[in-house]
């Protein structure tokens, strides 16, 4: 299945929807999207292939195949999620399945920055808090939650959990400046200036 709701755009401050719990530490990007699905020149079809091998192993019992989780938009994971390969196919596959935010104990660096460049916040909390949150979600999977970036928390009608978002990325999401390309290009003059001052690009004449 894949989501019809539109991909992230502009300012992102609130994400509302069902939560989906995917337990386990060190879940790597090879598992999120196995390498054979990287044989594509566009990301379009990745939504259906997310966790392909883990899902076929569990024959319908994988969280991404459970009916109650259909349509979920917030993925709650544990420690060091997204480690391994730099493939943006991983967050792309999650996004195309319908995920719009992640919450976990920690995220691997490249995965985290890939998510940011797609406008997908990755919020963190302590091991204890994440496990609590996961338990609460599992108790009623149909519960609708609201992830509020400004308040750095996630709330249902009955519960509130306080989360953390890194300052820089948070600011980028709240102001809609997470899509870096236009900001980077707007520095054209400074880019040129830096380029001219770099020794290995100017015959190693060290001027400064």
């Amino acid at each position: 299945m894949s989501s019809n709701s539109s991909f992230p755009k502009n300012e992102i401050s609130i994400i509302r929807g069902k939560c989906l719990v995917l337990p386990g530490n060190d879940i790597d990007t090879d598992r999120i999207i196995p390498a054979r699905f990287l044989k594509c020149v566009s990301f379009t079809n990745l939504g259906g292939q997310v966790f392909a091998d883990d899902r076929s192993e569990l024959k319908g019992a994988h969280p991404f195949d459970q009916k109650q989780n259909y349509g979920a938009s917030i993925l709650v994971v544990n420690d060091n999620f997204g480690c391994g390969s730099s493939r943006e196919h991983a967050p792309q596959a999650l996004m195309r399945w319908g995920i719009r935010a992640l919450i976990g104990q920690s995220f691997a660096e490249i995965f985290y920055s890939n998510c940011l460049s797609l406008g997908i916040p990755c919020a963190t909390g302590s091991e204890h808090l994440i496990k609590d949150l996961q338990k609460t979600i599992e108790a009623d999977k149909s519960q609708v939650w609201e992830l509020n970036l400004k308040h750095e928390n996630i709330k249902s009608s009955e519960n509130t959990f306080n989360l953390t978002l890194e300052t820089g990325p948070l600011k980028m999401l709240l102001t809609g400046k997470w899509d870096a390309t236009s900001q980077l290009i707007s520095q054209k003059k400074n880019i040129e200036k830096t380029k001219k001052s770099i020794p290995y690009l100017s015959n190693f004449d060290i001027t400064n």
């Binding site: 090879d30 390498a35 044989k39 870096a180 980077l184 880019i191 015959n203």
Partner: protein
Amino acid sequence: MSKGTLYDKVWDIHRVADLPGGSAQLFIGLHLIHEVTSPQAFAALEEKNLPVICPERTVATVDHIVPTISQKRPFNDPLAEEMLSTLETNCAKHKIKLFGIGSGSQGIVHVIAPELGLTQPGMTIACGDSHTSTHGAFGAIAFGIGTSQVRDVLASQSLAMNKLKVRRIWFDGQLKSGVYAKDLILHVIRSLGVKGGVGYAYEFAGPAIKKLSMEERMTICNMAIEGGARCGYINPDQTTYNYIQGLPHAPNFEDWTKAINWWQTLASDTSAIFDDEVTFDASQIAPTVTWGITPAQGIGINECIPTSESLETNERLLAEEAFSYMDLKPGKLISGIPVDVCFIGSCTNGRLSDLRAAAAVAQGRHVANGIKAFVVPGSERVARAAEKEGIDRIFLEAGFEWREPGCSMCLAMNPDKLIGRQISASSSNRNFKGRQGSAHGRTLLMSPAMVAAAAIEGKVTDVRKMLGSIK
């Protein structure tokens, strides 16, 4: 906060501006691309109607999907062929240099850039591949990026980055005979964990590092990412300069002295401040083999696979998952575990010195019955140099297959795959579930010499016994 480290110096030289979100804009001195993570980036440029601003600072090759038996075009796999021809079209259109099959310089992106002299000290290097950390061996700041960031580099030759902390990992002593750079880095990851390096750049230093060749240094920096560190580096020294001198893209003859003078200023100051420091004794490291499903689940060749009780509580869950996936018995010696497939290659260990080390073990011996063993050189240059030395013949006579260059069974996007529950001894860098092409395939990571030893014996074996370094 770190101060006076190579990382700080290179960062400052490349800083273009501070961005509103709080991150910095960093100029990228060398951008490497390949067929898997670039097509969507070029498509995004087109969509936004943006040009590639410094095509001369981007270099392309093809490695991930190429077959290693016959590289005749068109490839048998139409999807692989489409990816390669898309890269060719994009490079031609944007005037980007592509080292294609048969060019004499094609190969795994992290093998070719160093051997062509493209990788140099003090550069910032980015590539849509996590093992870009390899280039840090030259004292470059090199890191993997995602496809959206590939697009950003093409469009602006820069990236929005947050500065990392720096951890110095110091190695006293020297590696013993039969123990290799691969063992050293597997030992680090085993000790600090797969996420120990998140938020850090790793500086590898100390007498044991100083003595390593450039190829060995590359093996170490290559796997920094497996320890969670987005980049790892080694301060440039005479070994670095000697390696670069005379390579096709090395600085011009007239610039050479100036280049060295500048490179010498880059190394971390003796008074540098690090955010964290860790020390190891290299002489205590044994040949190391992974038994589980992350590169941190590794042990010395004379150790037993841990039992759940012997592990910290937070490691147990993952260990249980590994026991059941790998179908290996806790408490059992790692040495003696039978293997089905032996793979020598990858950007970690597919260079000439790796092939030499493995060939030294294979010479005059033969692959055990029923074992599939194959060698995939990291690049066309490595392949031709090895053939010139007769290394291909040593392997062939010993019953190994000798293939054409590419990533091959490191990630199995080409026809080289494990089948079913096969277990492989592999010189690559990842033992994740399903990594080598079968959803149930199993991987034991080790040095290339150890892979050769496993191929000969048909089981995990202490290569030092075969080399006569121990009885």
